[in-house]
Symmetry: C2
DNA sequence: TCCTTTTGTTTGTAGATCCAACAAAACTGT
DNA sequence: ACAGTTTTGTTGGATCTACAAACAAAAGGA
């Protein structure tokens, strides 16, 4: 007899324990090194409870005591830090022209960061999946050599990804309905850690939410461009996924009905007027294929040289991007909209006009410092975000087994 | 010593209890009448635990046993239902031309539904607040006569409302920075139940989420028009508020750059091309002031008579509205976008073109039945949503005191 | 009349937090 | 040098809650 009740889930002692373990873990992550007394005072948990929680986390090798102590009056505190050694979280980003894999420990320290050339478009999905799995296996091997237990692997793809890890549409890769998660699970031999697939922009905003200058801000939006334009949104402290997992599709929002033609058949989509691919097409005259980075570097060079045509194109793209950002700002009201991906090197020329457009189009009163900023995390944001997603899951209660 | 830690909140036994009380309450609400055994079987809670929880809820007069029993083999069950008598939740919507107050019991049964003419524009905010308070007092008096305890009062306003209940901007009322919540609390004599203020569209989508045909769907968007156009979004089962509480501002999204002028100074805002106010201006030729309902009724009459100009205008408004809805669909990916407010009577002529526009503009694969629908809740949605907000708070743990 | 079935309570157990008291380990002052 | 102060972290007991299993209650069926 299957129950069809889908309302709120009942709670239980293990939930209380899991919640409080996560609270302690989160506190140590953001305030390390700290003492048990600090944790108790700041979180409101009882000292005895904190001792018990810290004890369990040490036993599970998530935390570690250091010999460090502060020179103060009173009994010296035994300081607690995250235990960097035993675990690793892996994020892997599938770009059109390269694969990026990043592994971090609990504290966010990079354990490895590899890039590999990759021909996303042109190869069959099967070959691409094999290449992705091969890179993942290499990273897994390295981490196994270090004696680390893998907490999870999250793969980012620029496209529509459903909750089962099937890539519905990824124009940059020419993929349709590719069951990436299942394929990877099979290729990696049905590992015991969770393997998930998500949209790259979703992962990038998770990276910002955990490691960026606005870390912990409950409402963030992230706007990025590979070949297309896509948004990731954190609202109320959680990733906004939507009913099918397809939230954040801003690329085909029409900002300029008379503008250039878009790959979707319409005219003046945000992607077509302010996407990095479109910028390259307009400024370099070449069809953007393969690695976009040198092309972007070329644009930066010409902008630095004050080339009028380049500056004008960037300013106009900025205006349109500000228009797109205003949509996010008005609909979701984030504390800040972060520009990422290839926009970051172009930010000095894009941001002024984009910020101006945003300010005139946003309805709500904006606190000072709100608005539009460039990401400080660099190109690996999506891969880092994949690792962040794994750590989010761990902190949400999926703790690794004790001494497993 | 103020703690500055803002991470996840520690849990406690009382949280477990509150959660499980809410689970039982929610189950009975959606499955009444039901027995203790039903609850245990469906929620997974232990029979003994359910007995304890139901006992407490009966003691607090939120549930009630009925004599009813089912004729089956085995010991007959004592059926449980929501206790309709002791409590009331009040929602009050402030329109430009009328006030609506609704009171419901725990089960959503309407206890009263009053409308009153109201001159929002023109009167000073002080006078308007006095009128709102007067209507609330009348409703409170009626409920007190019935011996009901008030669980809360939520007031909806069409405009930007910050988390403290200050109405930052409400163009329909000509308000700026009106501290409505504080004023009401004072006018009602600092009552012991919570008084809150929220955006009308936010409340309307809460009403849909609780009482509409899509009740319980975790991702919903609501698009409504008074004089302006505004959206309310439920994402991941929770209302999307944003950093400042200003989410859902879709009215000044530019859908037609060459279109008619908008009150905001730009051209072709969604509000200016598809707002009900703009429709009236175009079709009736009159400046929409005061009650919009008869004007809308006039448009419906002319549409029924197949008047070409009216039909064309509605179809065009529908196209633009579909464009606006596509933004919501692409950015937030709700299961469905619900058209509310004055759009409901116009839906037969708006929906076809709007749905068509939406379908061509939405990027994500849509499951059948998704898309655009007209609200089934009627004009009182925002007021009902105010009451729903109160009940949400109760079910989130703010249970009334036992025998208070 | 006895058995079966289902309901709801009772009784005891386990787990987790909290409180208060205490022990431990430093610094401080005479 | 030594007691007093201050802060840390642990220990034992009380409390609260959910759970499991046995049991009592109330019907229908044979």
């Amino acid at each position: 007899m299957t129950t069809t009740y889908t309302g709120p889930a009942p709670a239980d002692f293990t939930d209380v324990r899991a919640t409080n373990l996560a609270v302690v873990l989160d506190y140590v992550r953001t305030n390390a090194p700290c003492s048990r007394a600090d944790i108790a005072a700041s979180t409101g948990l009882n000292k005895a409870t904190v001792s018990s929680l810290v004890g369990e986390l040490i036993e599970r090798r998530l935390l570690r005591e250091t010999g460090m102590t502060e020179r103060r009056i009173g009994r010296p505190a035994t300081m607690i830090v995250l235990d960097g050694a035993p675990y690793a979280a892996i994020g892997l980003d599938v770009g059109t022209d390269q694969l990026t894999v990043i592994a971090v420990d609990l504290g966010g320290e990079h354990l490895l960061a590899w890039r590999r050339a990759f021909t996303g478009r042109g190869a069959t999905p099967g070959r691409s999946v094999a290449a992705i799995a091969a890179l993942a296996r290499r990273a897994l091997g390295r981490l196994a050599d270090q004696g680390r237990q893998v907490l999870g692997l999250t793969v980012g793809v620029g496209g529509l990804v459903d909750p089962d890890g099937v890539v519905r549409i990824a124009t940059g890769l020419d993929w349709r309905d590719v069951p990436l998660r299942d394929s990877l699970v099979r290729a990696l031999g049905a590992p015991d850690y969770p393997v998930t697939v998500d949209n790259s922009a979703n992962l990038a905003v998770l990276a910002e939410h955990r490691y960026g200058p606005y870390a912990g801000t409950p409402d963030l939006a992230y706007l990025t461009s590979g070949p297309g334009v896509s948004a990731g949104i954190v609202a109320g402290g959680r990733l906004l996924r939507g009913a099918g997992g397809y939230a954040g599709e801003i690329g085909h929002f029409v900002v300029d009905p008379g503008g250039p033609e878009c790959s979707c058949g319409r005219r003046g989509c945000l992607e077509a007027v302010a996407g990095v691919g479109a910028l390259i097409r307009r400024l370099a005259g070449t069809e953007p294929a393969g690695d976009l980075e040198p092309e972007v570097a070329g644009i930066v060079r010409r902008a630095r040289a004050q080339e009028p045509k380049t500056l004008a194109a960037l300013h106009e793209a900025g205006r349109h991007l500000g228009h797109g950002a205003s949509l996010l700002a008005n609909l979701v009201n984030p504390s800040v909209v972060i520009l990422g991906g290839h926009y970051v090197p172009l930010a000095p020329w894009i941001l002024p006009t984009a910020g101006e457009a945003l300010d005139t189009l946003v309805v709500a009163p904006q606190p000072p410092g709100a608005g539009l900023v460039a990401s400080a995390l660099g190109h690996d944001a999506a891969a880092v975000g994949g690792a962040a997603a794994v750590l989010d899951a761990v902190e949400a209660g999926r703790l690794p087994l004790p001494t497993a």
